[in-house]
Every structure is written in structure tokens, then in C-alpha cells.
Symmetry: C2
Subunit: 66 residues, 2 copies
DNA sequence: CCTTTATGCAATATATATTTTACATAAAGT
DNA sequence: ACTTTATGTAAAATATATATTGCATAAAGG
């Protein structure tokens, strides 16, 4: 399922998928696929995303499923 | 690095690594290696662990690194 | 129009999470 | 002593996250 909270947090920081990806050290595709809910990212990647966007795991990745 | 919070939460529920693994649908080794900090688990696995132990992502997996 | 930017999509390659099977050991119970 | 339970460890196999490259399109600006 789509992760809209991630997309919103990214846009709030005025970052494109490519810019966020570069800050984190992954590729644009990885960010795009996570936002689309087509990837099951690793914990460390989730943590890197959270820290870059000043959010916590619960704020970006909790209860997006079910 | 070791994830002691996960181990404590598991013991609080009086579950062995094997019992927790079975509830979640993974192997005993996977749980053991996550507790030892030798695995970088997937987000969905983290969420399954949290729900089984009645915790959130932040409670079990946030800031165990750095 | 033309160029850039942002995003989605897809095929192939690579890294790594997870499984499977098995062995070792320490602690607890009988 | 013997058996069971819990845990750590390891090698090989499998599944999947992630990278790489490239193409397509829509929106915005010159």
C-alpha cells in the first residue's frame, strides 16, 4: 500500500525523490518504490529516511498496512 | 548492535525465540540474529514483531544504532 | 517549440535477508 | 546420568531488496 506520509514529509522538506535519495545514499527508484508501497524496505533504510526528514519510525512507517 | 529492547519485550511475554518466531512466521534463527543485531530486518518483519509483542516501532527499533 | 525537472516503469545484475539443516553447549528437570 | 529446552553458530540454498541503465510522459519555464 502507498506510503503517503512519507511523500508528504518529503514534500514538506521541499525535496524531490532524487534529492532525498541522494541525501540518504540510495537511488531514486528505491524512494519512489517505497512511496508506492512496492518495496518492503530494510529497517536501517527506514531509520535513515526518518532522520533525514526529522521524523520517527512511528510517524512515517507505523500502521500503513492492515 | 544488540537489540536488548526486543529481547526484554519477548521475555516479558514469556516467549522463547522459537515461540516468537513461530507466532510471526519466521525461523528461530531470524529472531536470534535480530536480537544480536546481526540482521537488518525488513520493515514488515519489524511490524509483525511489534504487533505480536504489543509494542510500536519506536519502542522496539528506534535509536538502537548510532 | 525546446529543455529541464519530476516521476513511473521495466529488465538485468548484485547484495543481502531469510530459510534449511545441522551441530554445540549450558541450564533445568527427572 | 539422561532428557529436554533455550540459545549461539555455520554452510549452503532461496527469496527479495536495491542498484544500474534506459525509456516514456507530463508539467513548467525559457
Amino acid at each position: 500500500m502507498k506510503n503517503l506520509k512519507l511523500k508528504v514529509a518529503r514534500v514538506e522538506h521541499d525535496l524531490s525523490q532524487a534529492e532525498l535519495a541522494e541525501k540518504i545514499g540510495v537511488t531514486r527508484q528505491t524512494i519512489g518504490l517505497i512511496e508506492q508501497g512496492k518495496y518492503n524496505p530494510s529497517l536501517q533504510l527506514c531509520i535513515s529516511i526518518c532522520k533525514t526528514l526529522n521524523k520517527t519510525l512511528d510517524e512515517l512507517f507505523w500502521q500503513e498496512e492492515d
